[in-house]
Subunit: 279 residues, 2 copies
Protein backbone atom coordinates (compact mmCIF):
# COMPACT_ATOMS: atom_id res chain seq x y z
CA UNK A 1 0.00 0.00 0.00
CA UNK A 2 1.33 3.44 -0.90
CA UNK A 3 2.01 5.95 1.84
CA UNK A 4 -0.53 8.78 1.67
CA UNK A 5 0.32 10.38 5.00
CA UNK A 6 0.38 14.18 5.14
CA UNK A 7 1.80 13.88 8.65
CA UNK A 8 3.09 10.73 10.31
CA UNK A 9 5.20 10.02 13.40
CA UNK A 10 8.92 10.71 13.29
CA UNK A 11 10.49 8.17 15.65
CA UNK A 12 13.96 9.39 14.61
CA UNK A 13 13.35 12.89 16.02
CA UNK A 14 15.81 12.95 18.94
CA UNK A 15 13.72 15.51 20.86
CA UNK A 16 10.80 13.11 21.26
CA UNK A 17 12.43 10.18 23.04
CA UNK A 18 15.19 9.68 25.56
CA UNK A 19 17.50 6.68 26.09
CA UNK A 20 17.51 5.58 29.72
CA UNK A 21 19.32 2.82 31.57
CA UNK A 22 17.77 0.29 33.89
CA UNK A 23 17.55 -3.41 34.67
CA UNK A 24 15.30 -6.21 33.49
CA UNK A 25 13.62 -8.91 35.58
CA UNK A 26 16.79 -10.99 35.66
CA UNK A 27 18.87 -8.05 36.90
CA UNK A 28 20.65 -7.48 33.59
CA UNK A 29 21.44 -3.90 32.56
CA UNK A 30 19.28 -2.65 29.70
CA UNK A 31 18.83 0.57 27.75
CA UNK A 32 15.50 1.62 26.36
CA UNK A 33 13.83 4.57 24.65
CA UNK A 34 11.00 6.31 26.48
CA UNK A 35 8.85 9.17 25.18
CA UNK A 36 9.53 12.62 26.58
CA UNK A 37 6.82 14.57 28.39
CA UNK A 38 7.22 18.30 28.84
CA UNK A 39 4.97 21.12 30.02
CA UNK A 40 3.53 23.57 27.49
CA UNK A 41 1.63 26.59 28.80
CA UNK A 42 -1.05 27.95 26.51
CA UNK A 43 -2.04 31.63 26.45
CA UNK A 44 -5.00 33.03 24.53
CA UNK A 45 -4.20 36.70 23.91
CA UNK A 46 -3.23 38.01 27.37
CA UNK A 47 -4.67 35.16 29.36
CA UNK A 48 -3.05 31.96 30.65
CA UNK A 49 -5.41 29.07 29.83
CA UNK A 50 -3.78 25.78 30.80
CA UNK A 51 -0.50 23.91 31.14
CA UNK A 52 -0.47 20.70 29.09
CA UNK A 53 1.93 17.76 29.32
CA UNK A 54 2.99 16.93 25.77
CA UNK A 55 5.80 15.36 23.75
CA UNK A 56 6.19 18.83 22.26
CA UNK A 57 6.00 18.31 18.50
CA UNK A 58 3.46 20.58 16.74
CA UNK A 59 2.82 22.99 19.65
CA UNK A 60 0.94 25.36 17.32
CA UNK A 61 -1.53 22.69 16.15
CA UNK A 62 -1.94 21.52 19.74
CA UNK A 63 -2.71 25.04 20.95
CA UNK A 64 -5.29 25.76 18.25
CA UNK A 65 -6.88 22.31 18.53
CA UNK A 66 -7.20 22.63 22.30
CA UNK A 67 -8.92 26.01 22.00
CA UNK A 68 -11.27 24.70 19.28
CA UNK A 69 -12.22 21.57 21.19
CA UNK A 70 -12.84 23.61 24.37
CA UNK A 71 -15.06 26.03 22.40
CA UNK A 72 -12.64 28.85 23.13
CA UNK A 73 -12.26 29.74 19.45
CA UNK A 74 -15.37 30.49 17.49
CA UNK A 75 -16.23 30.32 13.82
CA UNK A 76 -16.59 34.09 13.52
CA UNK A 77 -13.21 34.78 15.16
CA UNK A 78 -9.86 34.62 13.39
CA UNK A 79 -6.35 33.82 14.54
CA UNK A 80 -3.94 36.67 13.88
CA UNK A 81 -0.76 35.03 15.23
CA UNK A 82 0.58 31.95 17.00
CA UNK A 83 3.87 32.46 18.82
CA UNK A 84 5.73 29.46 20.20
CA UNK A 85 8.73 29.91 22.49
CA UNK A 86 10.54 26.63 23.19
CA UNK A 87 12.80 28.12 25.89
CA UNK A 88 10.00 29.16 28.19
CA UNK A 89 7.69 26.34 27.01
CA UNK A 90 4.86 28.66 26.07
CA UNK A 91 2.56 29.10 23.11
CA UNK A 92 0.47 32.24 22.63
CA UNK A 93 -2.55 32.30 20.30
CA UNK A 94 -3.73 35.77 19.29
CA UNK A 95 -7.15 36.42 17.82
CA UNK A 96 -8.86 39.39 16.18
CA UNK A 97 -11.64 39.63 18.80
CA UNK A 98 -10.23 39.89 22.28
CA UNK A 99 -12.47 41.43 24.88
CA UNK A 100 -15.67 39.41 24.75
CA UNK A 101 -13.98 36.12 25.18
CA UNK A 102 -11.67 37.07 28.02
CA UNK A 103 -14.56 38.39 30.08
CA UNK A 104 -16.35 35.10 29.55
CA UNK A 105 -13.43 32.97 30.73
CA UNK A 106 -12.82 35.20 33.70
CA UNK A 107 -16.39 34.77 34.83
CA UNK A 108 -16.21 31.04 34.38
CA UNK A 109 -13.07 30.49 36.38
CA UNK A 110 -14.44 32.61 39.21
CA UNK A 111 -17.46 30.39 39.54
CA UNK A 112 -15.84 27.03 39.00
CA UNK A 113 -12.24 26.80 40.14
CA UNK A 114 -11.23 24.92 37.01
CA UNK A 115 -11.94 25.69 33.36
CA UNK A 116 -12.42 21.98 32.72
CA UNK A 117 -15.62 21.85 34.75
CA UNK A 118 -17.45 24.82 33.34
CA UNK A 119 -16.32 24.72 29.76
CA UNK A 120 -17.95 21.31 29.69
CA UNK A 121 -21.43 22.87 29.94
CA UNK A 122 -20.66 25.05 26.94
CA UNK A 123 -19.28 22.16 24.93
CA UNK A 124 -22.45 20.13 25.53
CA UNK A 125 -24.61 23.01 24.27
CA UNK A 126 -22.72 23.09 20.99
CA UNK A 127 -22.70 19.27 20.82
CA UNK A 128 -26.48 19.11 20.76
CA UNK A 129 -26.63 21.41 17.70
CA UNK A 130 -24.28 19.38 15.53
CA UNK A 131 -25.64 17.34 12.62
CA UNK A 132 -23.21 14.76 11.26
CA UNK A 133 -23.06 13.99 7.56
CA UNK A 134 -25.25 11.03 6.65
CA UNK A 135 -23.63 10.47 3.25
CA UNK A 136 -20.42 8.78 4.25
CA UNK A 137 -19.90 5.11 4.92
CA UNK A 138 -17.12 2.80 6.04
CA UNK A 139 -16.44 -0.52 4.33
CA UNK A 140 -15.17 -3.34 6.51
CA UNK A 141 -12.36 -3.82 3.96
CA UNK A 142 -11.25 -0.20 4.52
CA UNK A 143 -11.30 -0.70 8.27
CA UNK A 144 -9.16 -3.85 8.08
CA UNK A 145 -6.65 -2.09 5.79
CA UNK A 146 -6.53 1.00 8.02
CA UNK A 147 -5.90 -1.00 11.18
CA UNK A 148 -3.12 -2.93 9.46
CA UNK A 149 -1.45 0.15 7.98
CA UNK A 150 -1.64 2.13 11.23
CA UNK A 151 -0.18 -0.75 13.26
CA UNK A 152 2.77 -1.15 10.89
CA UNK A 153 3.56 2.56 10.41
CA UNK A 154 6.89 3.42 12.13
CA UNK A 155 5.91 5.32 15.27
CA UNK A 156 7.01 6.44 18.70
CA UNK A 157 4.68 3.73 20.00
CA UNK A 158 6.62 1.01 18.24
CA UNK A 159 9.93 2.60 19.31
CA UNK A 160 9.22 3.65 22.89
CA UNK A 161 5.69 2.58 23.93
CA UNK A 162 3.67 4.49 26.54
CA UNK A 163 2.08 6.84 24.02
CA UNK A 164 -1.33 7.32 22.42
CA UNK A 165 -1.96 7.71 18.72
CA UNK A 166 -4.76 9.21 16.63
CA UNK A 167 -5.24 8.95 12.90
CA UNK A 168 -7.47 10.88 10.51
CA UNK A 169 -8.28 8.81 7.43
CA UNK A 170 -10.36 9.04 4.24
CA UNK A 171 -11.74 5.70 3.05
CA UNK A 172 -8.78 3.30 3.41
CA UNK A 173 -6.08 6.02 3.38
CA UNK A 174 -4.61 7.30 6.64
CA UNK A 175 -3.80 11.03 6.21
CA UNK A 176 -2.73 12.41 9.59
CA UNK A 177 -1.12 10.31 12.32
CA UNK A 178 -0.35 12.20 15.54
CA UNK A 179 1.02 10.77 18.78
CA UNK A 180 1.26 12.20 22.29
CA UNK A 181 1.66 11.13 25.92
CA UNK A 182 -1.85 12.51 26.45
CA UNK A 183 -4.53 11.03 24.21
CA UNK A 184 -6.44 14.33 24.24
CA UNK A 185 -3.33 16.11 22.92
CA UNK A 186 -3.07 13.77 19.95
CA UNK A 187 -6.71 14.53 19.09
CA UNK A 188 -6.23 18.26 19.56
CA UNK A 189 -3.17 18.31 17.26
CA UNK A 190 -5.28 16.75 14.51
CA UNK A 191 -8.07 19.29 15.13
CA UNK A 192 -5.50 22.12 14.93
CA UNK A 193 -4.10 20.78 11.65
CA UNK A 194 -7.59 20.44 10.15
CA UNK A 195 -8.45 24.03 11.13
CA UNK A 196 -5.22 25.46 9.76
CA UNK A 197 -5.53 23.62 6.45
CA UNK A 198 -9.32 24.06 6.21
CA UNK A 199 -9.74 20.29 5.98
CA UNK A 200 -13.33 19.14 6.42
CA UNK A 201 -14.27 16.27 8.72
CA UNK A 202 -17.46 15.05 7.06
CA UNK A 203 -15.79 12.54 4.69
CA UNK A 204 -13.24 11.31 7.22
CA UNK A 205 -12.76 8.43 9.65
CA UNK A 206 -11.12 9.07 13.04
CA UNK A 207 -9.03 6.29 14.63
CA UNK A 208 -7.69 6.36 18.19
CA UNK A 209 -5.71 3.95 20.36
CA UNK A 210 -7.58 5.30 23.40
CA UNK A 211 -10.94 4.30 24.81
CA UNK A 212 -14.24 5.55 23.43
CA UNK A 213 -15.20 7.81 26.34
CA UNK A 214 -17.61 10.76 26.34
CA UNK A 215 -14.63 13.10 25.86
CA UNK A 216 -13.46 11.25 22.74
CA UNK A 217 -16.98 11.18 21.24
CA UNK A 218 -17.50 14.89 21.89
CA UNK A 219 -14.18 15.85 20.29
CA UNK A 220 -14.82 13.71 17.20
CA UNK A 221 -18.29 15.20 16.74
CA UNK A 222 -16.89 18.72 17.17
CA UNK A 223 -14.49 18.00 14.31
CA UNK A 224 -17.49 17.01 12.17
CA UNK A 225 -16.18 13.45 11.67
CA UNK A 226 -19.04 10.90 11.40
CA UNK A 227 -17.07 7.69 12.12
CA UNK A 228 -14.93 6.97 15.20
CA UNK A 229 -12.82 3.80 15.51
CA UNK A 230 -10.71 2.55 18.42
CA UNK A 231 -8.70 -0.53 19.18
CA UNK A 232 -9.85 -0.10 22.81
CA UNK A 233 -13.27 -0.42 24.43
CA UNK A 234 -16.32 1.72 25.21
CA UNK A 235 -17.89 3.58 28.10
CA UNK A 236 -21.66 3.75 28.51
CA UNK A 237 -21.85 7.54 28.19
CA UNK A 238 -19.64 7.47 25.09
CA UNK A 239 -22.13 5.07 23.48
CA UNK A 240 -25.11 7.15 24.58
CA UNK A 241 -23.69 10.41 23.19
CA UNK A 242 -22.73 8.72 19.91
CA UNK A 243 -26.30 7.42 19.50
CA UNK A 244 -27.78 10.85 20.30
CA UNK A 245 -25.89 12.51 17.48
CA UNK A 246 -25.71 9.60 15.02
CA UNK A 247 -21.94 9.01 15.26
CA UNK A 248 -20.73 5.59 14.08
CA UNK A 249 -18.83 4.10 17.02
CA UNK A 250 -16.54 1.15 16.35
CA UNK A 251 -14.41 -0.33 19.15
CA UNK A 252 -12.04 -3.24 19.80
CA UNK A 253 -10.88 -2.98 16.19
CA UNK A 254 -8.07 -5.53 15.80
CA UNK A 255 -7.21 -7.20 12.52
CA UNK A 256 -10.58 -7.64 10.85
CA UNK A 257 -12.56 -7.95 14.08
CA UNK A 258 -14.54 -5.12 15.67
CA UNK A 259 -17.68 -4.28 17.62
CA UNK A 260 -20.00 -1.38 16.67
CA UNK A 261 -22.34 0.04 19.30
CA UNK A 262 -23.74 3.11 17.50
CA UNK A 263 -24.40 4.31 13.93
CA UNK A 264 -24.21 0.84 12.40
CA UNK A 265 -26.03 2.12 9.28
CA UNK A 266 -22.76 3.58 7.93
CA UNK A 267 -20.99 0.19 7.98
CA UNK A 268 -20.91 -1.77 4.71
CA UNK A 269 -19.76 -5.39 5.02
CA UNK A 270 -17.66 -6.20 1.98
CA UNK A 271 -15.30 -8.76 3.48
CA UNK A 272 -16.30 -12.40 3.07
CA UNK A 273 -16.55 -14.17 6.41
CA UNK A 274 -13.29 -16.09 6.07
CA UNK A 275 -11.50 -13.99 3.49
CA UNK A 276 -8.25 -12.67 4.95
CA UNK A 277 -6.64 -11.79 1.62
CA UNK A 278 -7.16 -8.04 1.88
CA UNK A 279 -5.65 -7.74 5.34
CA UNK B 1 -3.63 -17.79 47.55
CA UNK B 2 -5.97 -16.38 50.21
CA UNK B 3 -7.90 -13.20 49.51
CA UNK B 4 -6.61 -10.38 51.70
CA UNK B 5 -8.44 -7.54 49.96
CA UNK B 6 -9.92 -4.84 52.16
CA UNK B 7 -11.58 -3.44 49.03
CA UNK B 8 -11.82 -5.12 45.65
CA UNK B 9 -13.90 -4.52 42.52
CA UNK B 10 -17.56 -5.50 42.53
CA UNK B 11 -18.37 -6.43 38.93
CA UNK B 12 -21.88 -7.51 40.01
CA UNK B 13 -22.82 -3.97 41.09
CA UNK B 14 -25.49 -3.08 38.52
CA UNK B 15 -24.78 0.66 38.84
CA UNK B 16 -21.24 0.31 37.47
CA UNK B 17 -21.87 -1.26 34.08
CA UNK B 18 -24.57 -1.14 31.44
CA UNK B 19 -25.64 -3.79 28.88
CA UNK B 20 -25.70 -2.37 25.36
CA UNK B 21 -26.59 -3.88 22.00
CA UNK B 22 -24.54 -3.65 18.84
CA UNK B 23 -23.06 -5.71 16.02
CA UNK B 24 -19.78 -7.56 15.56
CA UNK B 25 -17.51 -7.53 12.49
CA UNK B 26 -19.69 -10.12 10.74
CA UNK B 27 -22.84 -8.07 11.28
CA UNK B 28 -24.25 -10.37 13.99
CA UNK B 29 -26.17 -8.77 16.88
CA UNK B 30 -24.27 -8.84 20.17
CA UNK B 31 -24.81 -7.58 23.70
CA UNK B 32 -21.95 -6.44 25.87
CA UNK B 33 -21.29 -4.77 29.23
CA UNK B 34 -19.57 -1.38 29.24
CA UNK B 35 -18.50 0.66 32.28
CA UNK B 36 -20.61 3.67 33.19
CA UNK B 37 -19.09 7.15 33.32
CA UNK B 38 -20.91 9.91 35.17
CA UNK B 39 -20.05 13.44 36.29
CA UNK B 40 -19.30 14.16 39.96
CA UNK B 41 -18.87 17.77 41.02
CA UNK B 42 -16.60 18.35 44.01
CA UNK B 43 -17.07 21.24 46.43
CA UNK B 44 -14.62 22.15 49.19
CA UNK B 45 -16.64 24.04 51.79
CA UNK B 46 -18.48 26.71 49.79
CA UNK B 47 -16.36 26.46 46.67
CA UNK B 48 -16.82 24.41 43.50
CA UNK B 49 -13.47 22.78 42.69
CA UNK B 50 -13.87 20.46 39.70
CA UNK B 51 -16.22 18.12 37.84
CA UNK B 52 -14.78 14.63 37.48
CA UNK B 53 -15.92 11.82 35.18
CA UNK B 54 -16.10 8.66 37.31
CA UNK B 55 -17.83 5.28 37.56
CA UNK B 56 -19.28 6.66 40.78
CA UNK B 57 -18.41 4.07 43.45
CA UNK B 58 -16.69 5.54 46.55
CA UNK B 59 -17.39 9.24 45.82
CA UNK B 60 -16.24 10.20 49.34
CA UNK B 61 -12.82 8.53 48.95
CA UNK B 62 -12.48 10.05 45.48
CA UNK B 63 -13.26 13.53 46.80
CA UNK B 64 -10.80 13.36 49.69
CA UNK B 65 -8.09 11.71 47.59
CA UNK B 66 -8.41 14.36 44.88
CA UNK B 67 -8.05 17.19 47.40
CA UNK B 68 -5.04 15.49 49.04
CA UNK B 69 -3.26 14.82 45.77
CA UNK B 70 -3.90 18.42 44.62
CA UNK B 71 -2.49 19.73 47.93
CA UNK B 72 -5.87 21.26 48.75
CA UNK B 73 -6.05 19.47 52.12
CA UNK B 74 -3.22 19.97 54.54
CA UNK B 75 -1.88 17.93 57.44
CA UNK B 76 -2.93 20.53 60.01
CA UNK B 77 -6.49 20.74 58.69
CA UNK B 78 -9.27 18.29 59.53
CA UNK B 79 -12.35 17.12 57.67
CA UNK B 80 -15.55 17.82 59.59
CA UNK B 81 -18.02 16.29 57.11
CA UNK B 82 -18.34 14.73 53.66
CA UNK B 83 -21.79 14.97 52.11
CA UNK B 84 -22.56 13.02 48.95
CA UNK B 85 -25.78 13.59 47.04
CA UNK B 86 -26.32 11.05 44.25
CA UNK B 87 -29.30 12.89 42.73
CA UNK B 88 -27.42 16.08 41.94
CA UNK B 89 -24.08 14.25 41.45
CA UNK B 90 -22.23 16.37 43.99
CA UNK B 91 -19.89 15.71 46.88
CA UNK B 92 -19.08 18.40 49.45
CA UNK B 93 -16.03 18.15 51.71
CA UNK B 94 -16.12 20.40 54.78
CA UNK B 95 -13.03 21.23 56.80
CA UNK B 96 -12.35 22.94 60.13
CA UNK B 97 -10.24 25.75 58.62
CA UNK B 98 -12.09 27.55 55.89
CA UNK B 99 -10.96 31.04 55.15
CA UNK B 100 -7.24 30.76 54.44
CA UNK B 101 -7.58 28.06 51.86
CA UNK B 102 -10.45 29.56 49.94
CA UNK B 103 -8.62 32.84 49.50
CA UNK B 104 -5.65 30.90 48.15
CA UNK B 105 -7.68 29.02 45.54
CA UNK B 106 -9.51 32.15 44.50
CA UNK B 107 -6.22 33.89 43.85
CA UNK B 108 -4.89 30.93 41.89
CA UNK B 109 -7.84 30.57 39.59
CA UNK B 110 -7.79 34.29 38.90
CA UNK B 111 -4.23 34.14 37.68
CA UNK B 112 -4.37 30.86 35.78
CA UNK B 113 -7.71 30.04 34.23
CA UNK B 114 -7.50 26.41 35.34
CA UNK B 115 -6.66 24.95 38.73
CA UNK B 116 -4.75 22.17 37.01
CA UNK B 117 -2.05 24.51 35.82
CA UNK B 118 -1.29 26.42 38.98
CA UNK B 119 -1.80 23.74 41.57
CA UNK B 120 0.94 21.92 39.75
CA UNK B 121 3.52 24.45 40.96
CA UNK B 122 2.42 23.88 44.54
CA UNK B 123 2.51 20.12 44.16
CA UNK B 124 6.08 20.26 42.87
CA UNK B 125 7.17 22.31 45.90
CA UNK B 126 5.83 19.65 48.23
CA UNK B 127 7.28 16.88 46.06
CA UNK B 128 10.80 18.16 46.51
CA UNK B 129 10.50 17.97 50.30
CA UNK B 130 9.39 14.34 50.46
CA UNK B 131 11.81 11.66 51.69
CA UNK B 132 10.72 8.11 50.84
CA UNK B 133 11.35 5.27 53.25
CA UNK B 134 14.58 3.45 52.45
CA UNK B 135 13.76 0.39 54.56
CA UNK B 136 11.32 -1.38 52.34
CA UNK B 137 12.12 -3.73 49.50
CA UNK B 138 10.27 -5.72 46.86
CA UNK B 139 11.11 -9.35 46.09
CA UNK B 140 10.70 -10.46 42.50
CA UNK B 141 8.64 -13.40 43.82
CA UNK B 142 6.19 -10.94 45.45
CA UNK B 143 5.91 -9.00 42.23
CA UNK B 144 5.16 -12.10 40.16
CA UNK B 145 2.51 -13.20 42.70
CA UNK B 146 0.94 -9.75 42.82
CA UNK B 147 0.68 -9.45 39.05
CA UNK B 148 -0.92 -12.89 38.84
CA UNK B 149 -3.41 -12.27 41.65
CA UNK B 150 -4.40 -8.82 40.32
CA UNK B 151 -4.94 -10.16 36.80
CA UNK B 152 -7.18 -12.98 38.02
CA UNK B 153 -9.22 -10.97 40.53
CA UNK B 154 -12.82 -10.57 39.28
CA UNK B 155 -13.06 -6.96 38.10
CA UNK B 156 -14.93 -4.50 35.94
CA UNK B 157 -11.96 -4.72 33.59
CA UNK B 158 -12.49 -8.46 33.06
CA UNK B 159 -16.26 -7.93 32.73
CA UNK B 160 -16.49 -4.74 30.68
CA UNK B 161 -12.98 -3.54 29.68
CA UNK B 162 -12.18 0.14 29.06
CA UNK B 163 -11.27 0.85 32.69
CA UNK B 164 -8.12 1.50 34.67
CA UNK B 165 -7.18 -0.25 37.90
CA UNK B 166 -4.89 0.59 40.82
CA UNK B 167 -3.85 -1.69 43.66
CA UNK B 168 -2.20 -0.93 46.98
CA UNK B 169 -0.28 -3.95 48.26
CA UNK B 170 1.98 -4.95 51.15
CA UNK B 171 4.64 -7.52 50.25
CA UNK B 172 2.78 -10.08 48.10
CA UNK B 173 -0.72 -9.20 49.43
CA UNK B 174 -2.98 -6.87 47.46
CA UNK B 175 -5.04 -4.83 49.96
CA UNK B 176 -7.01 -2.21 48.00
CA UNK B 177 -8.06 -2.63 44.36
CA UNK B 178 -9.91 0.37 42.90
CA UNK B 179 -11.06 0.83 39.31
CA UNK B 180 -12.29 3.87 37.40
CA UNK B 181 -12.75 5.17 33.86
CA UNK B 182 -10.12 7.79 34.74
CA UNK B 183 -6.81 6.38 35.96
CA UNK B 184 -6.29 9.43 38.19
CA UNK B 185 -9.63 8.71 39.89
CA UNK B 186 -8.60 5.15 40.77
CA UNK B 187 -5.41 6.54 42.38
CA UNK B 188 -7.31 9.27 44.21
CA UNK B 189 -9.82 6.76 45.63
CA UNK B 190 -6.95 4.78 47.13
CA UNK B 191 -5.41 7.98 48.56
CA UNK B 192 -8.79 8.87 50.09
CA UNK B 193 -9.13 5.42 51.67
CA UNK B 194 -5.59 5.59 53.10
CA UNK B 195 -6.28 9.01 54.61
CA UNK B 196 -9.61 7.97 56.13
CA UNK B 197 -8.17 4.78 57.64
CA UNK B 198 -4.84 6.36 58.61
CA UNK B 199 -3.02 3.74 56.55
CA UNK B 200 0.65 4.54 55.99
CA UNK B 201 2.27 4.28 52.58
CA UNK B 202 5.88 3.61 53.54
CA UNK B 203 5.61 -0.20 53.66
CA UNK B 204 3.38 -0.50 50.59
CA UNK B 205 3.69 -1.20 46.88
CA UNK B 206 1.49 0.70 44.39
CA UNK B 207 0.38 -1.07 41.19
CA UNK B 208 -1.36 0.65 38.25
CA UNK B 209 -2.57 -0.48 34.85
CA UNK B 210 -1.74 3.00 33.52
CA UNK B 211 1.54 4.41 32.26
CA UNK B 212 4.30 5.68 34.53
CA UNK B 213 3.93 9.38 33.75
CA UNK B 214 5.03 12.35 35.85
CA UNK B 215 1.49 12.61 37.26
CA UNK B 216 1.53 8.98 38.42
CA UNK B 217 4.98 9.33 40.02
CA UNK B 218 3.98 12.53 41.84
CA UNK B 219 0.79 10.98 43.23
CA UNK B 220 2.60 7.85 44.44
CA UNK B 221 5.28 9.91 46.17
CA UNK B 222 2.63 12.13 47.79
CA UNK B 223 1.08 8.98 49.27
CA UNK B 224 4.49 8.10 50.73
CA UNK B 225 4.67 4.81 48.80
CA UNK B 226 8.29 3.94 47.84
CA UNK B 227 7.59 1.39 45.07
CA UNK B 228 5.47 1.94 41.93
CA UNK B 229 4.68 -0.88 39.49
CA UNK B 230 2.82 -0.78 36.17
CA UNK B 231 2.02 -3.23 33.45
CA UNK B 232 2.44 -0.30 31.01
CA UNK B 233 5.49 1.72 30.01
CA UNK B 234 7.39 4.84 31.08
CA UNK B 235 7.73 8.49 30.15
CA UNK B 236 11.08 10.26 30.44
CA UNK B 237 9.88 12.80 33.00
CA UNK B 238 8.29 10.05 35.11
CA UNK B 239 11.69 8.32 35.24
CA UNK B 240 13.50 11.57 36.04
CA UNK B 241 11.17 12.48 38.92
CA UNK B 242 11.35 8.95 40.33
CA UNK B 243 15.17 9.13 40.35
CA UNK B 244 15.14 12.57 42.00
CA UNK B 245 13.17 11.32 44.97
CA UNK B 246 14.41 7.72 45.09
CA UNK B 247 11.15 6.05 44.05
CA UNK B 248 11.48 2.47 42.73
CA UNK B 249 9.88 2.49 39.28
CA UNK B 250 8.98 -0.84 37.70
CA UNK B 251 7.21 -0.97 34.34
CA UNK B 252 6.01 -3.49 31.76
CA UNK B 253 5.32 -5.95 34.58
CA UNK B 254 3.75 -9.02 32.97
CA UNK B 255 4.01 -12.50 34.40
CA UNK B 256 7.51 -12.57 35.90
CA UNK B 257 9.00 -10.08 33.45
CA UNK B 258 9.54 -6.39 34.17
CA UNK B 259 11.86 -3.44 33.57
CA UNK B 260 13.06 -1.14 36.37
CA UNK B 261 14.31 2.34 35.50
CA UNK B 262 14.70 3.93 38.96
CA UNK B 263 15.33 2.85 42.57
CA UNK B 264 16.66 -0.59 41.64
CA UNK B 265 18.27 -0.90 45.11
CA UNK B 266 14.91 -1.92 46.61
CA UNK B 267 14.55 -4.92 44.28
CA UNK B 268 15.64 -8.33 45.64
CA UNK B 269 15.88 -11.10 43.04
CA UNK B 270 14.67 -14.31 44.64
CA UNK B 271 13.25 -16.06 41.58
CA UNK B 272 15.57 -18.48 39.80
CA UNK B 273 16.03 -17.55 36.15
CA UNK B 274 13.82 -20.30 34.73
CA UNK B 275 11.69 -21.11 37.75
CA UNK B 276 8.04 -20.49 36.95
CA UNK B 277 6.66 -22.55 39.84
CA UNK B 278 5.75 -19.58 42.07
CA UNK B 279 3.79 -17.78 39.40
Amino acid sequence: MSNNYLISPNPDDARLTKRVEGIDHEGHSIKMSVPVERPLTLFLNGQEIVTMMTIGDYPEYLAVGYLLNQNMLHDDDSITAIDYDADIECVVVRTAMKTTFEEKVKKKTLTSGCAQGTVFGDVMEKFEDIVLSGDHIIRTSWLASLVKEINTTPSLYLKAGAIHGCVLAREDCPLLYMEDVGRHNAVDKIAGYMYHHEMKGSDKIFYTTGRLTSEMVIKTVQMGVPILVSRSGFTAWGVELARQVGLTLIGRARGRRFIALAGQHRIISDLAAEDDSTV
